[in-house]
Symmetry: C2
Subunit: 313 residues, 2 copies
């Protein structure tokens, strides 16, 4: 293993509570959302994704995005970030005042998914990215990244060919240049959990051979059981930045269509066994995972939070 250290970006509060809320608006009280974020801030994690500024009509469980942001007491030295899918969301995120806003373009490798998630075709999405780039510039936010959703497969389209991934990264590159930015970092997102270790390795190598200077990060879901294998394949390929989710929040063991993100504590434990540094205080993280289970009211996919404390673990 050449990697000695990884950066973990905790996305549980956003991805998890968004998912948990499906069909159950206001299931999770604002205070409890804030409670989890505050607890995560004590674990050594450096960056926590808090909420989504999306349509309260489409995603009622994120209707308290402003309220969560207001109640949060940011810990100095930590970064908080959030999700938005259009210029309106970006304006709300900017107004919240506590978020690290990274100027980036975001596209989906599956147009079918884009229509469902962003309600836009690829052409419309490109136009929306231009509007967002304009907003970043107007707010003096450097434009430095791209994020590609559904980069490994799609529930509606099936496999995503690698050539399409490359084509879309080219489009991102042009958009960022057009917006006066510099393309420094690319996130490849396995939004619906279709990746396998070989496709992770193949995609990372293809992107890196074309854009050797680009820093890569991975957003992985454990929908089909390969989550940590994909994480390991990413590490082996030299990726050092990953989104993870406490408890494996984001999935439901009973009726999952989109499984949770790879679980923060399972990733941290595996890294520790391999001598890869995460900077995370493991026992505090386990407490957060148990808190998350208490908040959602059911067992989460995490293996470590259930194994920890038994036997010699």
């Amino acid at each position: 293993m050449n990697v000695q250290k990884v950066e973990l970006h905790e996305v549980g509060p956003r991805e998890g509570f968004q998912f948990e809320g499906i069909g159950q608006p206001e299931k999770i009280p604002t205070t409890r959302k804030v409670e989890l974020v505050q607890a995560l801030a004590t674990t050594g994690l450096r960056k926590i994704q808090v909420t989504s500024f999306v349509s309260p009509k489409q995603v009622p469980q994120m209707a308290d995005a402003e309220e969560v942001s207001r109640r949060l007491q940011p810990v100095s030295g930590l970064e908080y970030d959030c999700v938005y899918l259009n210029d309106k969301g970006l304006e709300r995120a900017l107004n919240a005042g506590i978020y690290t806003i990274e100027g980036h373009v975001s596209l989906s490798a599956s147009e079918a998914f884009s229509k469902r998630n962003q309600n836009r075709t690829l052409a419309e999405d490109i136009e929306m990215q231009r509007r967002q780039l304009h907003l970043y510039r107007a707010n003096n936010i450097p434009i430095e990244g791209g994020r590609l959703m559904a980069a490994f497969g799609c529930n509606y389209e099936g496999d995503i060919p690698l050539s399409r991934v490359i084509d879309l990264v080219v489009i991102m590159h042009d958009l960022i240049a057009e917006g006066g930015g510099q393309f420094r970092e690319l996130q490849l997102a396995d939004t619906m959990g279709w990746a396998d270790p070989e496709s992770v390795t193949r995609t990372v190598h293809a992107v890196r051979s074309r854009w050797p200077e680009l820093k890569l990060s991975l957003h992985l879901h454990d929908t089909r059981g390969a989550g940590l294998a994909n994480f390991y394949a990413g590490l082996e390929s030299g990726v050092t930045k990953f989104d993870t989710s406490v408890g494996g929040l984001g999935g439901c063991p009973f009726a999952q269509t989109v499984g949770g993100n790879i679980c923060t504590e399972d990733v941290v434990f595996m890294c520790e066994r391999m001598g890869v540094e995460t900077g995370v205080h493991f026992e505090r993280l386990i407490e957060c995972s148990r808190l998350a289970e208490d908040i959602v009211g059911h067992v989460l996919p995490s293996r470590m939070s259930h194994a920890w404390g038994s036997a010699a673990t």
Copy 2:
């Protein structure tokens, strides 16, 4: 990926029902155990581990080992096997008449685990192996293999040094030679789920560099989340034979001390995505996983059985 095909050894009925029964003797009726084995026999799996011939006092849920064996209607072309921990168990297994009995020696890399599981010190275990080897010879069963439990770590001892693994394989080698056998195959078992992808790779390479002709197989548990990552690391290292468990049977999401084996359907799906042949009919396997959930009466760790049927899967 150099591996084009894997052999999967289904251990769910034995490992799972043994685990499920802890503290709840006779929880699972014999008819339902047989039902699962019969269903698994239609999936394309070539070898199924059915039961354990162990002390009914120590493991009451396996007290029906003879009855399960009697009721089973073996499908021609399939192999059925079983577990035993001493010469008495081996005699019972031989008497059952339906099992493929592989002459082998079995040791534990952790003496603390050996004392708990087999109720023997290493020295006593070596003596027991000699008694078993004698029985194999008396029954004209070729002696060709070794199995090493707790090869990657132990709940009672923690890490297991690689040097101890090598020392024990040397002992196995000598025992097999002494018994007139030939050491052709070694199973490395991560009995308590302590392996990580790097330790799998390191151990496989160390054993192979010393005994290049030895066929290796892996028995992996997903106690700490790294199960499929370890499977992938094994594949990458050229291992082609694995124990897996339908539904991920063997673990309980509520109070696991020993998590389930790596889940057969998650392994099969990942293999299919990577073009690695398993010979398994996927939909029939998913039906078996759902049957297993029905039998144990709670959600099993499998990801694929919950994702399958939703969206494009």
